[in-house]
């Protein structure tokens, strides 16, 4: 790589963003984020889902106005304004327009004359390897080809900065790798015309493979916790020891418990007590993970990158499962390692009923919302409570969607544990065992 120029393309200063009601109850997704983007570099924003990295990208794209803070672009250079363009995770193609029309859309909005538009669109299509597909509709294309259209559409407007929001995460492994390599080739050969790339990802290896600099985000609230320079020469080899070391290092950083706050396990999810926003993780998945770690070769202790590789999970898929198990005191996470607790070993050995019993005990003890629902049902004479009651309570502490997701997650765990029952049609929680 050429030496990094010290020209600032973009400065993000003290950006904070609150979702939800301003004043009270809003959730802080970005807290005091600073970021500078230089000429000629690929920067990765790496973090868990919900860590605010997409929000930051959208603030830079001008799609969201952050609650406070500043996003400033460099002044015009070489007679050009600093502009941005974006590639989306879901491709975001117009299904009623052909490939060519999709690529032309941005130019059309800029009122570029038809002939120049056509010429530039065809050039971008050529660059990105889409020749022959000009008149196809997106629904006729495979995922990889669709994302190529997304790339061509973003590049054709000649942006100074290319923003990419998890551009390869909706693709299968092989396709994603091909696209990454092609993009890196274009970038290294300087054929893209873009001065810098800022990409959001949750895939650690992808970040190490592509980026010159990685900013690691913590969630709840979103902050930049680490900046990692990647000095490995391109093209990078995933098997190279230096590459592996870097990946391990980042895994460790991302599972690190904030040693500052000693609230042992509650700090992982946004919110406190019953206000904790919980992800939907199936009990089958949890059981599967416990079984996998308790069996050889892990025998109760697994290195997360190895576990992810063995189970063919991405880091972002593995983390919520590991963390729910940690909340339930079935596992402990430390420095990129996952260790089963004694109860988890008992769980792995137990039969169906034994497992349920153990799970019920842990659910009622360690998940505040489950304990809360159980207590309310116990206190009532009818042993019944409308779902509305808990939903309202949760919505005071989190957004409507998060409340629904959290309640559904806890309901499903409780159903498995036979801790309490829920009737969806009547929207009622009960203590009765379903007959």
């Amino acid at each position: 790589m050429t030496a990094i120029d010290d020209r600032h393309l973009l400065d993000v200063k003290n950006v904070r963003h609150l979702y939800g009601k301003p004043g009270g109850g809003g959730q802080l997704v970005l807290d005091d984020v600073d970021l500078t983007l230089f000429d000629n570099e690929i920067v990765g924003l790496l973090g868990r889902s919900g860590s605010g990295k997409s929000t930051l990208l959208r603030s830079i794209a001008g799609l969201i106005r952050p609650t406070s803070g500043e996003v400033t672009f460099a002044g015009p250079a070489e007679g050009r304004q600093t502009t941005v363009s974006m590639v989306f995770q879901s491709f975001a193609l117009f299904p009623w327009l052909t490939v060519l029309q999709n690529v032309e859309v941005g130019l059309e909005a800029k009122r570029t004359p038809a002939e120049e538009r056509r010429r530039r669109a065809l050039a971008a299509i050529d660059l990105i390897g889409l020749d022959g597909f000009e008149n196809a509709y997106p629904k006729e294309l495979s995922g990889g080809m669709r994302q190529r259209v997304g790339l061509a559409r973003a590049l054709v407007v000649d942006p100074t900065i290319l923003l990419m929001d998890e551009p390869f995460s909706a693709l299968d492994v092989l396709t994603a790798e091909t696209l990454r390599t092609d993009l890196l080739d274009l970038w290294c050969e300087g054929r893209m015309g873009t001065k810098s790339i800022l990409m959001v990802t949750h895939n650690i290896e992808e970040a190490v493979l592509m980026c010159d600099r990685i900013l690691v985000f913590s969630s709840n609230p979103g902050r930049i916790t680490a900046e990692i320079k990647v000095d490995l020469p391109q093209p990078r080899n995933r098997q190279h020891p230096a590459f592996r070391r870097l990946v391990d290092d980042i895994y460790a950083r991302m599972t690190q418990r904030g040693s500052r706050d000693e609230k042992l396990n509650d700090g992982l999810f946004p919110g406190m007590g019953i206000g904790m926003v919980l992800p939907r993780v199936s009990t089958n998945t949890m059981a599967g993970l416990i079984e996998a770690v308790s069996a050889p070769p892990f025998n109760g202790k697994a290195h997360l990158p190895d576990l992810a590789a063995a189970l063919q999970y991405e880091a972002d898929e593995l983390f919520p499962i590991a963390e729910i198990l940690q909340l339930l005191r079935f596992t402990e996470l430390e420095g990129g390692d996952l260790r089963l607790t004694a109860d988890a070993h008992r769980y792995a050995e137990a039969d169906v009923d034994g497992r349920k019993q153990l799970f019920r005990l842990h659910l009622n003890t360690y998940v505040p919302l489950a304990a809360h629902i159980r207590r309310v049902l116990d206190e009532r004479k009818s042993h019944q409570a409308p779902g509305r009651r808990f939903r309202d309570e949760l919505e005071d502490l989190m957004s409507e969607e998060e409340a629904a997701q959290t309640l559904r997650a806890v309901t499903n765990w409780a159903r498995y544990a036979e801790a309490f029952a829920y009737d969806e049609i009547a929207d009622v929680f009960t203590l009765d065992d379903p007959v």
Binding site: K21, P22, G23, R58, A61, G62, L63, V84, S85, M86, F88, Q89, S90, F91, A92, F94, P95, W96, L97, L100, Q101, E104, V105, G106, E108, A109, K110, R111, A114, E115, R117, R118, Y137, P138, K139, E140, R146, V157, I425
Partner: protein, 585 residues
């Protein structure tokens, strides 16, 4: 609207002609001829429509078959005029509702109510109103007829458009904002295409209902004024008056031809074309097909022809309307202030509604008293009984048949269009046959007039059930087969849950249509013989004929209350249940 396909984007409108060279091509010539002919027809029709009323009296509608093509043309023109008005209404009002939260607070409930109000009952008022607007001109009556069709079409179209606008995918919204689309470009590139499939479907449903109203509204008698606009509806009214069965049969035949032509030449191509706007990233296996659409796409000169028709549209799509640069300082209101404005706004709307009710009340109570209200309500119960019994009966008949057909794809493919055609066919055209039969055998009109109410609307149940049965996934059917599920258990656990959401959709349409149809079905005539069934429909029909505005208003108000209560108490909960529990995805 074909322009949105934009199949040749980037070509300047004139470039087409430049490319074709100096020699005029066949496509140009034919396009020119067809365009000219259409223009002449429209101008002629419109000219006729703006004739003074006196001329209408001098050259009344006659039963001369030679004039039937002209009548058919005029009826069709009315339909399309109303459709244009409905689209305009849809694009403005639904957009407003989707973009402004406060407008939404008022517009959505209003649309919901308007959807369930018996439109035919309003004819009295609208005819009087529009004749006052264009005194002594045929245009006033034309407007009243077109307005009647409009009121039967616009609401569900607006609803569908509104719902599409509210569900625009987030990522496409972000793309268009990131590229800085102007409001017009956003409408043309994103909102309109995304809403097209739903809108086309609703236009189709609206047009089906519309034929019924165009027939009913062409020959109107309000008090002492009787007006017969040249059209198929008037032809039928006249043949009924003259007891001319042959003329009725010819009218029915022409109507069938018109609907068939409209279906094949206009609607199927549009449905086939609209398929590409469906927001799915995967190509579906069974795409709607249309031989006209395929022909146009395959034959070069036809494609050129359509292209020639397209260019004004494409030009419109490419226009860069200047974006209003109203740089108002962003007013950030506190939550308190926003809520206060909301409360004021809702209060203003509520006041408006109360004023309307009060106005209606004083209007009705000027001539009528509480006893009349009780009578009207009693009639309402009679009609309600009819609607309930008939929907139940038709369901008993068509659900098994529909399931049988739906499970056999070969049959479904052939019979589905026929069911849709029957739904579009205006049933009131067929009334005379039934009336003659009732008169001949001296049957009790209270019973035997009732089936007329569902004559046209039962098909909605049939074609929705067919669609539902064909949508039952084959793995479910196979599982049922393997476990030996059959008989009543099969119906209870496989077929009925599978078709239920579709059935409810069909039954809602059918029952709404039946209420409306009761106004023409409960009181019918054959020459000098009048048949009448006791009910709210005949109550409104009689009051209309007598020019008794008070009773018409009362009847319409009572019927609206019945329909709305029926929807809220029965259909809404069923629909919600279907949405929540019986979705197959």
């Amino acid at each position: 609207m074909v322009f949105l396909s934009g199949e040749r984007v980037g070509s300047h409108p004139l470039a087409r002609f430049r490319r074709l060279g100096a020699a005029p091509s066949w496509a140009d010539l034919i396009a020119f001829l067809v365009l000219a002919a259409t223009a002449v027809l429209i101008v002629r029709g419109a000219g006729e429509m703006s004739e003074p009323l006196s001329r209408l009296r001098m050259t009344p509608v006659t039963l001369d078959p030679a004039r039937l093509p002209e009548y058919a043309l005029l009826t069709t023109l009315r339909m399309f005029a109303a459709l244009a008005a409905s689209l305009l209404f849809t694009f403005t009002v639904a957009t407003l509702a989707a973009k402004s939260r406060r407008a939404e607070l008022v517009i959505v409930p209003a649309l919901d109510i308007l959807q369930s109000v018996p439109i035919l009952g309003f004819l009295t008022f609208t005819v009087t109103f529009f004749m006052g607007l264009f005194p002594g001109r045929q245009l006033g009556v034309e407007c009243a007829a077109i307005f009647a069709i409009f009121t039967s079409q616009a609401w569900n179209m607006a609803f569908s458009f509104y719902q599409s606008l509210r569900t625009i995918p987030n990522d496409l919204d972000e793309v268009s904002r990131q590229f800085g689309f102007s409001p017009w470009r956003r409408f043309v590139r994103l909102e309109l295409p995304f809403a097209t499939p739903g809108l086309v479907w609703n236009v189709m449903m609206s047009m089906s209902g519309g034929w019924f109203f165009v027939v009913a509204s062409e020959a109107i008698t309000v008090g002492k004024t009787t007006i017969a606009l040249p059209g198929i509806g008037s032809w039928l009214a006249l043949s009924i008056e003259r007891q001319d069965m042959r003329a009725v049969a010819i009218g029915v035949g022409v109507m069938a031809v018109v609907i068939l032509l409209y279906d094949q030449l206009v609607f199927r191509p549009i449905v086939a074309w609209a398929d590409k706007f469906r927001f799915e990233q995967t190509a579906s296996q069974d795409r709607p097909s249309s031989w006209v659409y395929d022909l146009v796409r395959r034959v070069r000169w036809l494609r050129g022809l359509v292209g020639a028709f397209n260019w004004p549209g494409r030009l419109l799509a490419r226009i860069d309307w200047p974006t209003p640069r109203l740089r108002l300082p962003p007013v950030r209101l506190g939550p308190g202030a926003t809520r206060a404005i909301d409360v004021l706004w809702v209060a203003a709307a509520a006041l408006g509604a109360i004023a309307a009710v009060w106005f209606l009340w004083t209007f009705i109570s000027r001539t009528l008293n509480g006893h009349d209200a009780v009578v009207a309500f009693g009639y309402g119960l009679a009609t309600l009984t009819r609607v309930v019994v008939l929907i139940a009966l038709t369901s008993l008949i068509w659900v098994p048949i529909g399931v049988w057909i739906g499970l056999r794809p070969a049959w479904a493919e052939r019979l589905q269009p026929i069911a849709q055609f029957l739904a579009a066919f205006p049933a009131n055209v067929l009334f005379p046959f039934v009336v003659v039969a009732i008169v001949a055998v001296h049957a009790d009109p209270n019973i035997w007039l009732s089936p007329l109410m569902v004559l046209g609307t039962q098909w909605y149940i049939l074609f929705n059930v067919i669609a539902g049965a064909s949508a039952i996934p084959s793995d479910l059917k196979e599982a049922a087969g393997i476990f030996g599920v059959r008989g009543w258990q099969w119906w209870r656990e496989v077929a009925l849950p599978g078709i239920f959401p579709y059935y409810v959709t069909g039954a809602i349409t059918a029952s709404g249509g039946s209420w409306n149809a009761s106004i023409v079905a409960e009181a019918v005539t054959w020459g000098d013989k009048h048949l009448e069934a006791v009910g709210l429909g005949s109550y409104i029909a009689k009051a209309t004929a007598a020019g008794d505005y008070g009773r018409v208003a009362l009847g319409v108000a009572v019927m609206s209350i019945f329909v709305i209560a029926f929807n809220r108490a029965l259909w809404r909960p069923m629909y919600r249940f279907a949405e929540r529990r019986l979705r197959l995805d």
